[in-house]
Subunit: 319 residues, 6 copies
C-alpha cells in the first residue's frame, strides 16, 4: 500500500515561469529515461522478488517509492514553470480581459508564439505536465524492463540510472534558474546513488555472469568478427583476455571466408578457452538447480498469499 505526504522530498522552487524549460523538463517526467519509467521499472521488478529475495524486494520498493517521489518533484516543477498559463486560459471570453492581462506582460503575438513551444500546455493540459517526453511522445509501458532475473534487472537498472543521470546533466545547461538547477542537481545525484545501490546488490549474487543460467557456448564466446572494413582497430575488446570469462579473444580477420570454411560455423571449434561443453553443462545444471530451488521453495504451489497482516499492531502517522 502506498501513502503520500504533501511535502516534496526536495524543496523544489522556481524563480519565474519558463515554458521552454517546462517543455525540456518533460523529458524526465514522461520520457524514456525519466522518473515514471524508473519508478515503474523498480516497482514491477519487485513483484518477483517478494518471496524469494526479500532483501532485494525491500531495496527495489524503497527506490521505486523514491522515484515516484521524484516524479512528483519534476511534475511540481513543471507546474511552477507554467505558472500563469492556466489562469490566462480562463480569460476565454471574447472581451478584452485577456488583452489587458497580456498587455501588462506580453503582446498577443508573443502569446501565440509561446503556444508553439508545446501546444499541449496551452490547448490540452491547461498549463500542467503531460505524460510525455519533451517532444510530446506519450510515455509507453515498453520503456519498463523487468525480466524476472536479478542478474539482468540490476544491470538494466545501472544502465538506466546512467542514462537518467546524463539527461539531467544535459538539461542543466538550458536553465539559469538557480532554484531549478538545485533541484536538478539533487535529482541527478540520486541517480548516481541508485547506480551504486544496484551495483552493490548485483555483487551479492554469485555467480552473476553470464546473466541468467546458461554459461554460453565456448565455441562462440570469444570470437570477434571483423565485419567493418577500413581502418581496423585493435583493443581489449578483440585482443587479449575477455573481461569476465577470461578467455582469449579470437580475431576473425576474414569472416566471409571463415563462415564458409566452417560450414556456417557449425564446424568451428573452441579455441583460447578452457571451457568445454562438459564443463558448461555441469555448471548449467548446478546453477539451474540452485536458482530453481531458491525461487520455488519460496512460494507454495496453491493457496498463495502476498502478506500476513498483524491484526494487533497499530500504525500512527503524524507529521
Amino acid at each position: 500500500m502506498f501513502y503520500h505526504v504533501k511535502e516534496l522530498q526536495y524543496n523544489a522552487r522556481v524563480s519565474k515561469p519558463d515554458p521552454r524549460f517546462a517543455r525540456l523538463l518533460l523529458e524526465q517526467f514522461g520520457g524514456c529515461n525519466g522518473e515514471l519509467k524508473a519508478a515503474m521499472q523498480y516497482f514491477v521488478q519487485a513483484f518477483g522478488c517478494k518471496n524469494p529475495y526479500p532483501d532485494k524486494y525491500d531495496m527495489l520498493m524503497d527506490i521505486a517509492t523514491e522515484e515516484f517521489s521524484h516524479l512528483e518533484i519534476v511534475g511540481a516543477t513543471i507546474q511552477m514553470l507554467l505558472t500563469g498559463v492556466n489562469g490566462e486560459l480562463k480569460l476565454a471570453s471574447e472581451t478584452d480581459e485577456l488583452s489587458t492581462v497580456l498587455n501588462g506582460k506580453t503582446a498577443k503575438e508573443n502569446y501565440i508564439h509561446e503556444a508553439m513551444i508545446n501546444p499541449h500546455f496551452f490547448a490540452v493540459t491547461g498549463g500542467g505536465p503531460a505524460v510525455t517526453d519533451s517532444n510530446g511522445n506519450p510515455w509507453m509501458g515498453s520503456y519498463v524492463s523487468a525480466m524476472g532475473d536479478l542478474t539482468v534487472d540490476l544491470r538494466a537498472n545501472m544502465a538506466d540510472e546512467s542514462k537518467a543521470k546524463l539527461v539531467y546533466e544535459n538539461l542543466m545547461q538550458f536553465t539559469d534558474d538557480p532554484y531549478v538547477k538545485d533541484t536538478l542537481r539533487f535529482l541527478m545525484t540520486r541517480e548516481v546513488a541508485h547506480f551504486q545501490m544496484f551495483e552493490a546488490a548485483l555483487n551479492t549474487i554469485k555467480p552473476n555472469f553470464p546473466p541468467g543460467i546458461l554459461q554460453s557456448d565456448p565455441k562462440h564466446s570469444n570470437t570477434y568478427y571483423n565485419l567493418s572494413k577500413g581502418d581496423p582497430h585493435k583493443g581489449p575488446w578483440n585482443e587479449g583476455e575477455s573481461t569476465q570469462l577470461g578467455e582469449t579473444w579470437q580475431y576473425i580477420e576474414d569472416p566471409i571466408k571463415y563462415v564458409n570454411e566452417t560450414n556456417g560455423l557449425v564446424n568451428s571449434r573452441a579455441e583460447g578457452t578452457d571451457r568445454t561443453d562438459e564443463s558448461v553443462a555441469k555448471h548449467n545444471d548446478a546453477l539451474a538447480k540452485e536458482r530453481y530451488e531458491e525461487i520455488s521453495s519460496a512460494t507454495p504451489p496453491a493457496d498463495i498469499k502476498w502478506n500476513t497482516y498483524d491484526q494487533k499492531k497499530t500504525t500512527k502517522l503524524k507529521k
Copy 2:
C-alpha cells in the same frame, strides 16, 4: 513524497496458478482503463489544484494514492497467478531438469501451448506482470486526461471510473477462484465509491456546465441534425427540453436543405432559447473573471514554491 507499506490494501490471494486469467487481468494493470491510468490521471490532475483548490488536491492525491495501491494489488495477483513460471524458466539447462518438473505436472507440449497465452510472460517478463493490457499493448501516457479544469477533469474521472468498474465486472466471469473474485469485487466496488467522490466534488463547483468558461452559442446549442436516414427516432435528446440549459430541442429534419438555406448556418437564428449573445457575453465575462482570480491569486508570479517545511515537527512511522 510517497511512502510504501509492505501490506497490500486488500489481502489478495490466489487458490492456484492460472496464466490465462493473469493475461486477462493485465487489462487492469497496464490497460487503458486500468489502475495505472487511474493513478496517473488523478496524480497529474492534482498538480494544478495544489494552490487554488487545496481541498480538491487533497481528494485527488488520496484517490491517486489508493489507485497506486490498487495497481500493486493487481500486480501482486498477476504475480501469484503466474507462480511456477519463473522457477521453471531457471531450469534452462538442457539436461532433463525441466522435463522432470514438467512430467509431474504437464507435458512439454502443454508447456509450449501455455506460452501462446502470452509469450511475454515466458520469454520477457519471466513470470511477472508486464506494463501492457491483456492484448500486450504497452500502456501509454495518452491514456491520461488532465486538462487543468475541474469541471472537465472530474467528469472525465466519473466516466473513467465507470469504464474500470465494467472491466472488473466483465473479468469476474472468467475466473472461478474465490480469492481472486473477492479481490476483484473489492476493486470494482472502489470504482463505484470513487465515482461518487468525484461527483460530489463536481457538485461543489458552481456553475459547472458547460464545462470550462464559455457558455456556448445559443444558435447551435439546441439543434439536432437528423443525419442518419431510416427509422428516425424521437426521444428526450431531440425533443422537449435539453437537460442542462433547459432549451427546447430544434429538430432539423432535412439538414442539407437547412444548411444551404442558412448559408452554411451563418444565417441561422437562435430559437427555443432565452439565451442571447448579450446574456452569454455577460456570463462569460463574469465567470472568466472569477475563475481567473481564483487561480492567479493562489500563486505568486515569481519565487514560486510548492511547500513550506515544518522544520520542528517530527514524523514517526510505526507499523
Copy 3:
C-alpha cells in the same frame, strides 16, 4: 451506408493563411479529444445498439455522422490556413522560381523558420492536414471507448464532449481571425449540445448506477481512505451521504492501521449503509436477467442479418 454532400455543415472560411494556428487546430483533427475520435467512438458504439436499442442507435449514428462532418470542417479549415504551402512546394526546381515568389512575401530564412512550426506540413503532407494531434502524435484507435454498455458509453461520451469543448475554448485564444473564431464557436457549441443529448439518453435508462450490472459490495462502497498526509480536507466526498447510493461516507483516518486490523479488509464490515449482501445479490440477479433479455431477444442466434432492404422503394437525392 454513408453519403457525402460537398457543402460543409458550417460555412468555414479563413481570412488569411496561418500555419501556426493550423498546427494548433490539428489537435481537433487527429488529437485524442478531436473530431475523428468522437466520430469513431459513436460510430463504434452504435454497432451494439443496432438491434436491442434502435433509438440509441439512431442517436449515436446521427451524432457520429455529424462528427464526421465536423472532422471535414476542421480539415478544410486547416487546408485553408495552409494556403500557399502546396503551391510553393511545387517550385522545387533549383532556379530562382521559389525565391521570386518568396521575395514578394517573405525571405528564405523565414520560410525555413516556418517549416519548424510543423515539418510535416512542408515535408510530408504538402500543406494539408495530418492525422495527428498538434504535437504530431498520430491518432490512435485506443482513443476510442466503446464498451458495449450504454450506462458506461454515454457517460464516456459526456466526459469526452466536455474535453472537446474545453480544447475549442482554449484554441480560440490563439487566433484573431474572425472567420476561424466563428467556426470554432460553432464546433464548441455542438459539444455542449451533444453532451446534453447523451445525458438525456442516459436518463432514459433505469437504473443506470452503478454502470453495468453489479451493484458493488456494501463493505467498500462508502469508505474514504485518508492516504495523503498533510492538511486533510473534508467535503461531501468524504463526509455526509454519497451522491448516488445515499450511503454515509466512512472516513478511514488511519488506513494502515485499519488495513492491518481488518486482516487486509477481509474482516471489515459494512457500515453506514442499508445495503446487504442479500439485497445486492437480489438486485444483481434481477438486473442481469432484464438486460440479458433485452439484448439476447433482439438478435437471432443464427442466420443473422443487419438490414432488410425495401426493394420497391425509390430514393431520390437532389440538391
Copy 4:
C-alpha cells in the same frame, strides 16, 4: 457534410457466431491495410484537390465515402460474428445465471478458453469491434499517406488497394460461412475496382513520372549496385532499358571500387542516357511553373472559403 443511410451498401449476414473469424476480420476494420485506413486516406487526400482538381476531389470523396461504408459493413459483420457475447456478459451476477446459459451451449472452461481469442472482445468492447488490427494493435494515423501531390497519392492508393485486396483474399480461407464469404468477395472486388479508378486518374496527369516535379539526376537514375554477393542475377531491372525513362541500366559490378574511384560518386558521369543537367533543369522549370500555376490560381491568398451555398435550393432525402 456526411449523412448516413441505415442500409448497409452490401447485405452482410452471418450464419452463426464465430469469435475467431471476428478476430481475423478486425484486420480490415482497424488494421494498417483496412477500411478505416482507406477511408481516411482518400478523405485527407481530397482536401488539397478541392480547388485545383475538382474532378479528382469528386472521385476521392466518392471512394472515401464508399470506404466508410465498407468500414460499416466490416464492423457490422464483426458485431454479428460476436452475437451472444454482449448478452452473456450481462449475466454478471454470481448466481448460476451464466452457467445455465452456458450449459446449453458450452462449458465454463470453453468460455474462458474463448476469451483467449481476443480478451478485448470480452473484457473491453463487450462483444463489438475494436479499432485495432487482428493482433490488437490500435489503428494509427500514421497509416494514412496524403502528400499533396497526386502523382504520389494515386500511386500510393494503387498499392494500398493491392494490399487490401490480398488481405481479403487471405481471410477468405479462414471461414466457411457462405454469407461471410460473399461479403468478403464483394469487398475484395471493390479494391480491384478502386485500383483501376486510381490508375485511370493517374493516367490523366501528364507527365506523371517521376512523381513530383524534379526530373532526377541523370548520373544516378540508371545505375544498379551489385551490393549483395552470391548468385548475382540479371533481369530487366539491371540490364536493358529502364521502364519509364528509357535509359540503359548501368550495372556496377564492384560498388566499393566504383565508389572509391569516383570520390564517393562525386566524380561519376552520366552514361546510357540522353538526359543532361541542362535538359533536366529546363524540364524542372517548366513543370514547376505549370503545377504552381494550377494550384495557386485556384485559391485566393485571402478571404478563403470552401463552399458557396445555394440558399434557394431545396434538398429532399427520401428512402
Copy 5:
C-alpha cells in the same frame, strides 16, 4: 551476412552546422517514408523469395543493402549538421566554460532557443540522429509492408519510392548548403531508379493483375458509386473502359436506390463485362495451382536449410 565498408556510398559533406535542417532530415532517417523503412521493407520481403524467386531475392537484397547504405548517409549528414552540439554538452560544469564557448558563437538565450528545435538533440541523443521522424515520432515496424506476394510487394515498393522521392524534393527547398543539396539530389534520384527496377520486376510476372490470385467478382469490379453529391465529374475512372480488366464502367447514379433495389447488391448482375463466374473460377484455379507449385516445390517440408556453404572457397576482402 552483412558487412560494412567505412566509406559512404556518396561523399556526403556539409558546409556548416544547421540543427534546423538536421531536424527536417530526420524525416528520411526514422520517418515513415525514410531510408530505414525502405531498407527493412525490402529486406523482409526478400525472405519469402529466397527459394522460389532467387532473381527477385537478389534484387531485393541489393536494393535493401543500398538503402541501409543510404540510411548511413542520412545519419552521417545529420551528425555533421549537428557538429558542435556534443562538444558543448560536455561543458556541463557550472563554471563559465560553456559561456566562453558560446560567447564566441551565440548567446545563452540563443542556445536555449536552439534546444526548442528538437529537444532530443540536446537532452537525449547528444547531438546525433534519433530513430524518429522530423516531429520526433519513433520509427515503427508497422511502416514495413511485406505480404508474401510479389504482385503486391512490388507495387507497394513503387508507391513507397514515389513517396520518398517527394520528401527529398520537398526537403531540398529548406537548405542552401550546396553539399547537402548534392547529397539529397543523389538520394532522391536513387528512388527514381529503384522505382523503375521494381516496375521492371513486376512486369516479369504474368499475370500480375489483380494482385494475388483471385480474379474478383464481375458483378462488382466495374461499378462506380456516386456517393459524393454536388458537382459530379466524369472521367476515365467512371466512364469508358477500366484500365486493366477492360470492362465498361457502370455509373451508379443513385446508390441508395440501387442498393435497395438489388437487396443490398445481392441481386445485382454483372454488366459491361465478358467475365463470368465460370471464367473467373477457371482462372482462379489455374493460377492458384501455378503459384502454389512455384512456392511449394522450392522448399522441402522438412530439414529445411537456408544456404549451402562452399567450404573450400576463399574470400578476400581488400580495399
Copy 6:
C-alpha cells in the same frame, strides 16, 4: 556503405515447420531486446564516435554489422519455421484445392486454429516475419538508446546484451528442434561475447563513473531513504561503502522527519564522504575541458566531411 553476402553467418536450419515457435522467435526479430534493436543501437551510437573515437567507432560498426547479420538469421529461421504457409495461401480459389492439400496434413478446423497463433502470419505477412515482437507490437525507434556519451552508451549496451541473452535462454525451452536450438545457442552466446567487448571498451575510458561529466553532489550521493515500511533489510546498498565513490552509506531511517527537518533537504549536509563542493567543481572543470577537447578537436566547424576516398585503390570482392 553496407554489403551483403548470401550466406548466413550461422548455418540456420529447421527440422520442420512450427508456427508457434515462429511467433515466439519474433521477440528477437522485432522485439524490444531483439536483433534489430541491437543493430540499430550500435549503428546509431557509432555516428558520434566517427571522428573523436575511431577505435570505438570500428568496434560499434563491427558489432552493429554482426547484429544485422543476426537479424537475418532470425528472420530466415522464422521464414523456415513457417514453411508451407505462403504456398497454402496461394490456394485461394474457392474450389477444393486447399482442402486437398490440407487433408493430407490437417483438417480445416486446425488450419483456422493455427491462424489464431498469430493472425498476421496468415493474413498480412503471408508466412514471413513481421517487424513486431511475439505479441505483435511493432518495433519502435524508442527502443534505441544512443546518447552521445560512451560512458552511458557502453553501459546501456552491456545491459541490453544481458536482456537479449536472457530472452534466448528463455526461448530455448520452447522448442525441441535441435537445429533451432543450435542457432539459438550461437546467438545467445554472441550476446555474452558482446557484453565483454563493451565492458572492455568501457574500461579503457578513465574516469567512467559517474557517467557523463558532473561528479554529483556529495550531500545526496550516499543517502539511502527507507521509504518502504515493513521488514527493512540492510545490505551493501545501504550500509558500508558505496561501490564506486567509496562513500559511507547514510541510512535515513525516517525520511519524512528528515525531509522536514532539513527544509526539504536544502539544509542537509554531506556526511560520510571526503568529497566537497570544491573538489567536485575542480573535477568537473577538468573533465569538461578534457572531453570537450577530445570531441571538438576532431571535427572542423565548417566544410565537414565524413570520408576521404582513395581514388586509386581497387577493391576486389570474391567469394
